[in-house]
Symmetry: C2
């Protein structure tokens, strides 16, 4: 295992740019090398001093890295793993910040050399905005960060990544990739799909009468379509199950509304309210949100 002197961030969008800025702020001795596929992104990142150095060669970007972080769309990971495999220094830690974790683990096992350590990361941070110009060095403060590990994952690499994300302000939790993808299908991918369905179920002409409730409920659907398509396509079975559960709940509500069954409707509304209030309380207790 190598001492942390250079971090390479691959992909300089909102997340990659924010990681880079946060590392520069938290680890003053660490060099951050940033790589982005598009020249225009590299130009912007360079102008904004997002990293110590922004480079235009993927393979060279990792040649001296102690930690490599993939922050590009999930569907680019497999090829990037293959491309950098030969250039990764022995003992280097590789991670990614993709929103699904089963496939990244599989691709890492298939493509990365045995001489490096892969751990999955998923910092629960971001916004509906995209692009390096929205990068912020405090994006990870008080955010949860899930590290995904399997039996094959090196324990020392997990410890180092735990320290790394904690230093950036995250609360770190461990789980398996399968557990992660099941849970996040439900608490993240399903809300996204429902926000999309809600908007698409509305006529354009009617939307101008929408109030604050609609605006909040649909916010996440303003996120980048290609990144979210990747998320959904790398977690198809879990997302499909989540949609089935949501449809079942909608059908139940519809039935009770049609039957004008007031007590059942109140019960379902109260159950939702109580669960949400519990969630908010626990987030406040855990300091993830400020009351």
């Amino acid at each position: 295992m190598r001492h942390l002197r250079q971090v390479t961030v691959i992909g300089l969008g909102l997340l990659g740019g924010s990681i880079s800025l946060a590392v520069l702020r938290s680890f003053t001795q660490v060099k951050v090398v940033g790589y982005a596929h598009r020249p225009s992104t590299r130009d912007k990142a360079g102008r904004l001093s997002i990293a110590t150095q922004v480079v235009d060669n993927l393979v060279e970007s990792v040649a001296e890295a102690d930690l490599v972080i993939l922050a590009s769309p999930i569907c680019t990971f497999e090829k990037i793993f293959s491309d950098i495999a030969g250039a990764l220094p022995s003992g280097c830690i590789v991670t990614d910040v993709g929103s699904t974790k089963m496939l990244p683990h599989r691709w890492a096992a298939e493509r990365l050399p045995k001489s490096v350590y892969y751990v999955g990361s998923h910092p629960i941070a971001g916004s509906e905005q995209r692009g390096v110009e929205f990068a912020r060095d405090d994006l990870f403060e008080r955010a949860m960060c899930i590290l995904t590990t399997t039996k094959a994952t090196d324990r020392r690499a997990v410890q180092i990544l735990n320290g790394f994300w904690s230093e950036l302000g995250c609360f770190v939790q461990l789980m398996t990739p399968a557990e992660h993808d099941r849970i996040y299908a439900s608490v993240s991918h399903l809300p996204h799909v429902m926000a999309v369905a809600l908007i698409n179920a509305n006529r354009r002409a009617d939307l101008k009468f929408a109030g604050k409730g609609f605006i909040d409920t649909s916010r996440i659907a303003s996120g980048p379509a290609n990144i979210w398509a990747d998320v959904l396509l790398t977690n198809t079975r879990n997302v499909a199950k989540g949609i089935d559960r949501a449809i079942a709940e909608l059908m139940r509500l519809k039935k009770e509304i049609r039957n004008e069954n007031r007590s059942q409707i109140v019960k379902m509304l109260e159950s939702a309210r109580d669960k949400r209030n519990e969630l908010i309380s626990s987030k406040i207790t855990n300091k993830e949100i400020i009351s």
Copy 2:
């Protein structure tokens, strides 16, 4: 038609309390009489100086009113109309701030005397909070307010109410009760039902892993269950149709996810994003929200 000297607000929750405070601020010559069903609410409202006078007799509260505003749950309206019918001064305007408008119009036609003027109001303001302690005199600033009218509605009463809500900071729009209930089933009641379904489709244990997206998407489900049950139960057919459209959208998304049809998924996500961006832009142009 009477000159506006006394406004009576029936129901002193978040909305009624805020109307009362806003009237006191905007119409310095107008007396506001507040009535609440529960003694504890009247006590709180009195202590907070929510109205010029808080009274404990519904019938007496309207005896000298030029404008009566019902801000209690929708399902109380019919009885309140009957109870106050005999005490309303001739020429008085009666309105309500219920979130559905077909039934209030029907009840008004059946229960109110011909000597008073009924118009429906629906200010698109509020929050998931409830209770007079959350009342604010600026709740209606930049909010849309729908006035609902039928062929029978007095034009002069509409003009006076238009002036009234505008003075409180609202942007007033007119429509029929049927149009209102169709549109708000879609842009307000459906998002509520979907937020409830989303939470109830999630296991309690998984919710602690939820991020900001989930919290925003589910916010409205923290609203008061009994008030929302009223809303859903007074707009059953439109809400059921909205749920059907949402389910159809969810099924379409599920199908394309299962088929791994990337281009279709991107298309649906982009359509939602574009529609929402349009909505946000129009709200900013109309000064309803500040960018």
